[in-house]
Symmetry: C3
Subunit: 363 residues, 3 copies
């Protein structure tokens, strides 16, 4: 043999796949985030996730968020994973509250890494026997898959299914509870946008005033994002919650907010603070028990809203009319780049939880 190629034919072809990016708004190349640590990724917090369920953002410290973000950046910078790290693994996506966006994002993440998917797109309506308990469903899943990704309209659903489930469980949204993977995706976008936010000693001119439009107490994505924001004490100089409620925070976050060194204030009109915000986080959906309602129209943003010139807008999507499409073409639009990072963050998390870090070259 006169020639040895280190990549197989199928690896080469996979590597030729074009990189996926967002069509409009800011582009967030992942290389800058990797450059911050000269391409080295902090393996320790990732190894600690092996076999663990991911239920609540409070499981993460700043180091863990940064490690996931950097692993996501590595995967995104290669665009596709040529090492097939999830080979032989089956993920069950059990969506008792339908969400094509989140479900497909997880299913894409799994399949891009060569894992397989058992899909329950609409567990509430089709299939799961009426009246079957979540505990029995968890028992069933033990032999069907290696990890369960569940969304459910009830907040206590994660505890219920874990009564018998022995496989790691990833919370993809539970009622008004949490949405930890969305929060990791949000922070992945912010850290790609301004990598120095990773640092405890973030220079003052790069620190951000963070505005959150919505009600963390009843909006799980907002709540989980805010929970992670509290970890970035060197980077977030101030948080302003914009809500019609006097106490929008809710029980889950009362204590962490009280203990936080980041100053947090609450206003009820976005116009009061809009021109002082560096990052504006918007969401549309508030959960009220098992149902939900949309955000009040008063908090709508469009291209004429008086923002700082380099302010960026985040939104977990899907959106309703709180976020006008005329913002899509502007540099305020970080939400498209935020969405386009989702698959990579979920890949990173799955590789860590399923103990397959060693199969990703470069980690």
């Amino acid at each position: 043999m006169s020639f040895v190629n280190t990549l197989s034919k199928s690896q080469i072809s996979a590597a030729l796949t074009e990189r996926a990016t967002n069509s409009k708004g800011r582009q967030l190349p992942p290389e800058r985030l990797l450059a911050l640590t000269d391409g080295r990724i902090d393996r320790k917090p990732l190894e600690a996730m092996a076999g663990q369920s991911i239920l609540n953002p409070r499981q993460f410290d700043r180091r863990g968020v940064v490690a996931i973000a950097q692993l996501a950046a590595l995967l995104e910078s290669r665009n596709v994973e040529i090492d097939k790290p999830l080979d032989g693994k089956i993920a069950i996506t059990a969506f008792f509250e339908p969400s094509t966006r989140t479900r497909l994002s997880f299913e894409s993440a799994v399949q891009r890494l060569d894992g397989k998917v058992l899909s329950v797109p609409d567990g509430q309506v089709t299939g799961i026997a009426k009246g079957e308990s979540l505990a029995d469903i968890g028992e069933m899943f033990n032999t069907y898959g290696d990890v369960v990704i569940m969304r459910h309209p009830e907040t206590d659903s994660m505890d219920e299914i874990r009564k018998n489930l022995q496989r790691p469980l990833i919370n993809a949204g539970n009622g008004s509870g949490h949405h930890p993977t969305q929060a990791l995706i949000d922070w992945y976008a912010l850290l790609k946008w301004r990598p120095m936010l990773c640092r405890e000693d973030c220079p003052e001119d790069q620190q951000v005033h963070l505005g959150i439009i919505g009600t963390p107490g009843s909006m799980r994505a907002v709540k989980s994002f805010l929970r992670l924001a509290l970890l970035f004490t060197g980077a977030v100089k101030k948080i302003t919650l914009i809500s019609e409620l006097a106490d929008p925070v809710g029980l889950d976050l009362t204590e962490p907010i009280e203990e936080s060194v980041i100053p947090i204030n609450i206003v009820n009109d976005v116009r009061e603070v809009l021109d002082t915000l560096d990052v504006i986080y918007v969401n549309s959906i508030a959960f009220l028990g098992d149902s939900y309602r949309n955000l009040d129209n008063r908090y709508k943003l469009d291209a004429t809203s008086p923002m700082k010139r380099d302010a960026v807008i985040m939104h977990p999507l899907a959106r309703n009319d709180e976020l006008a499409e005329d913002l899509d073409e502007t540099d305020h639009n970080l939400y498209f780049a935020q969405a386009s990072g989702a698959v990579f963050v979920r890949q990173a998390l799955l590789a860590a939880v399923l103990r397959r870090l060693d199969k990703i070259s470069g980690t």
Copy 2:
């Protein structure tokens, strides 16, 4: 090259997957069933299944049931199949009566063996053109997949689709007809629990008195289980049907029961016989044409029910309130182990039907 590993890198990683077991109740390690024949599996009946449809439990003799159970045990003992025996094969799961439990079990079986799945989770509602005949659907499936796994609320549906279908068809439940793969799963659990039941010369102290709560005539899982029970003439010393009906057997089984050497009697109150039963088979759902009704509450079991100390309870799940959760933690609970064997039995059957036994090392 100084070192040759007989497993490829991907084989090693697959082999590292943790074994799946049930969370509670009896554990049924598959090795004891394999040990009964020193690990040798009877290939002849498996080879006879090549290319065959699996429609009715009467297609099986005892030797075939044991061979499937032993192949399932081999697959379970290895936990995952590293030989990828279904590579290149596509299974169509066509569920005209939704059942997440059965559908996912088949889809997990296929994917664990590296086959692929075309999924129709809810054929009645979404997609199959209204009014399209099953014969035309069968014609369509000929070029789409290599095997069709179908559940349908109508008993004659299997005959209908086979008018044009040229691929093997596996009956995953047809109205009040049959559910042969469930029955194989049930017997897999029993044979793992007490391997000597495989034998015609089963010692008397290991023979069982089998109680079946339900109406085989209108409960397809119960009917198929009973049909296979009649094959184990050396192991089942007596069968008691517990039903509110005078004749719970139904037309399908009248003749096999009359011809059977196993004594069968019928009582209408479970309390009459409960303390004499070694195995108690419970089910919740009776089919009445295209609809179904649940089992009468009188036949409910819980941890205080006066059972023999080492009696085991079986249930094909999902359960309603006929089987109390306080039994889960007891040794009577064989139903969780029964459920956790489902994927392996379906793997064994698919490997036999799709002519891929040679790709499973050890057979």
Copy 3:
């Protein structure tokens, strides 16, 4: 090593899969179509499809239709693709109008070539957030998959999703718009049936009088089939539209029909022309905005209909009662062979669009 096999073990096993054919009616072996050009396939038009969306049959010239048909024939003659040309590629099947037949056909095509599928079987009902714009959905799909296959009840849906979608889009039916892949499938069957139809110099005794029962203006499959028929100027000597409408053609095709050298006439009773037709194309469904109605019963065909002895009937299926089952066993039945070619045409198209021609040996 004393023996080198050029196929890997998994390639051999894949090659052993039985060829899929239709159960009844004419058999259309693909080899005759390949023989027409001594097995050489015209790569140029296939290469021009790389990265392109397939939205409208007018994108094709005759050379492109023949090239797709010949690539499909190559894939069909091998039966399964052992080169795994779509390895690493993800197709999203987004069906906002459910269609099990078309969806499964695409999903089978992708998986047979070792690609992966993200499935949205019922985008209208489950999952896609109510009110989310198709433009936002297109943005989401950019990072989830490599190609999007969409069906939608609204004609302008393809333009809407392409506002942000950067991946190739394949139109699987848009309201009363088009159904280009179905038309390619239809012509694949005709070209296999009579390969000389490929030629501009088709001998006169092989030229066909084509009858189309239906309303191209509101029936997308019929419209797309007719659009491609106009390309075969040397092979189609006459087209007769059989419709109850005075002008069944509709705006899309008015100009191409006026410019065509093929004589086209319109009659409103199939009995007027039936015994002069060589090919009879039937369809059942006419789209009226977002809803549809079935074809009038007057146009029903059965085994007693006075057709030419060697006339063939085509139908894109699913059928209603316009096409009697007593025709299935006759040689008029080309529709089952037509259906059985669908997977191969879609494979050919996907390989071209996703730039994987080089991975198919023989092209």
